[in-house]
Symmetry: C2
Subunit: 408 residues, 2 copies
Amino acid sequence: MTGLRIDSARLQGRLETLGGIGRDATGRLARLAATDADRAGRDQVASWMREAGLEVLVDRVGNLFGLWRTGDAGAPPLMLGSHIDTVIDAGIYDGCLGVLAGIEVVHTLREANVRPARPIAVGAFTNEEGVRFAPDMMGSLVYAGGLGVAEVLATKGTDGATLGAELARIGYAGPHEPGFLRPFAYLELHIEQGPILEREGFAIGAVENLQGISWQRVTIAGVANHAGTTPMALRHDAGLAAARVVAFVRDRALCPDFRTVATVGCMEFRPNAINVIPSRAVFTVDLRSPDETVLRAEEEALARYLGELAEVEGVAISTERLARTEPVTFDPALVAAIEAVAGKLGLGSRRVTSGAGQDAQMLARICPAAMIFVPSVGGISHNPREFTRPADLAAGANVLLGVVRALV
Amino acid sequence: MTGLRIDSARLQGRLETLGGIGRDATGRLARLAATDADRAGRDQVASWMREAGLEVLVDRVGNLFGLWRTGDAGAPPLMLGSHIDTVIDAGIYDGCLGVLAGIEVVHTLREANVRPARPIAVGAFTNEEGVRFAPDMMGSLVYAGGLGVAEVLATKGTDGATLGAELARIGYAGPHEPGFLRPFAYLELHIEQGPILEREGFAIGAVENLQGISWQRVTIAGVANHAGTTPMALRHDAGLAAARVVAFVRDRALCPDFRTVATVGCMEFRPNAINVIPSRAVFTVDLRSPDETVLRAEEEALARYLGELAEVEGVAISTERLARTEPVTFDPALVAAIEAVAGKLGLGSRRVTSGAGQDAQMLARICPAAMIFVPSVGGISHNPREFTRPADLAAGANVLLGVVRALV
């Protein structure tokens, strides 16, 4: 391991510059996919790619790549990347760190006149967050062949706009077929978005796997009735039934044997009036586990419970699957390489599971892939208070640099 | 008991005519207080009052009265009444029955040349439903001296309009001080809005008391965080805490010792995103009991539980009182008179508790009061499917007629 290090001030400055793009009058950050703010962010990133000597290439679904044609130009490139789209009222690190650290690694290698044996690409995948267009991780999913280009370009956003038209409008409907650069391997540096590394005092997480995710929408139909005149025993209260489900999934997830997390994030009552028994409750259930068998068992336990509850409460319950991904196991050799580089740099590391979905899980379908996590202060993410200390950002980028050097 | 009977076809026809006023293009009925629809309904009712020989009088908060100056003109009048404002997407019976049956009773007496010994008034109280202006039962509350006229006239509606200005606009800001007719007694015929009479096969409910009502808004502040990366044990999930409260109030109310009903009708999560742990849940708790001691004990039990829950879940919980009324016991002699008349007419009756708030509970502050209930099919109310069979409407109005004859 040479003493080569990334320029942490440059990386930090670029994170802050990019984080300043897409703020509204109140300072709130939102760069939703294929919006004007996304265009401004992409333009900035493309300009930094060019500054680092990368050739900018865009595919048909807007995935943005910077390619360093070096070494054996015909060899599959090592790919680094992540995404630069954000949630609404976002922090500045989620996704952006992986893209900007990738550019920084290339920039550092070029400045040091290192000539890798194979090409290196840095990718920023379209619409990882899925806020405006569903599903999330869209660009990387298409890139890995999991979804058709035509279907994705026809996707309607929450604002009624079509992704294809919006990409064309902002100038990022490129000519290349998704998957045109078949990666030799894929590495993604990302903030943890959880509290474990900070709480346990590790600078680096070597991400060995990623939870499978099951998203369902549950609709409970009861009977609206007067809150004062309807005896408790004669009620068919959709809101009460929904509350029972919230408690059920929580109580199962708290059981340490299951290794799942469970969240009810969305909830709506109808008619939502103080003195009317709810006729309808609609809510979401987010179940995650790194073990597919466990995840399936949890889905089945929920389905059984909903069946029993419908009978007990005299309500009708239907479910709709919104998303389902299987757990992903990352490439063991890459995970070991991350640990080894961290060790050589004197950085404490531990193996971790990604609780969030990531572009890396899609790339893992077509090449060896792994991720490096750095600590999120307080575990906070998808929030303006999202923060990773500059030293941790630099440490993560230097581990990425070290693994790149070991691979190319 | 003579054979005098109300004209059930006329009563039924007027209920349907009034129920046709205030419908939108889709047929949905809404006559919110002091709207154009309310004016049209009032105009129709005032015209029927005049047709029945009643003198139309309006007080400063829009309470509308038809007065029959008969017998001892200086004696306090027997008052019959209810309200004609409705909820949104209402049925045609709630409130309207009490007003139109009152007019019908007077009309029947005049046509039979009966000359009561004291005056009879029929009242339609402003804004019983409280949909546009808070609080509900507003007109009767002011009439009974429970709220000041100036304060009520300055009330802002959900649409930003002021009640006083709206009453003036629709021509129902009258000259009389609320309370100007001090009633000798007050009788209100109303649909049950609950399922008990129909399920048990009684035509008449002699309402002996009315539940106290406690309305609170509960706000739970937790910590928003990533649904995939935040371990279950580290969560401060406002939505989960809210669900625990919904289950708590239900489970206590199901306990037959308590004689309470409990309802969570409104529920909102923030940020209400599928993959974000709710940072905030806001919901309402509606507790009712005919026994003030029990109602207070239930409020205290809820407060204790919220305190424990805040500690267990690491969330902050605050409550805001939205409304509170004590239980009301109606006049025992009037209740007995209702039972006696029902018996003479061959109608099965039972004593019941009103689960809903009613204008009669306000009038009970200033005079002996009682209510007559008739069955609601399926217990359905505040709903276009609200329905009471014509024979039951007529039976209720004939009981009202019989009690009036017994009193004047």
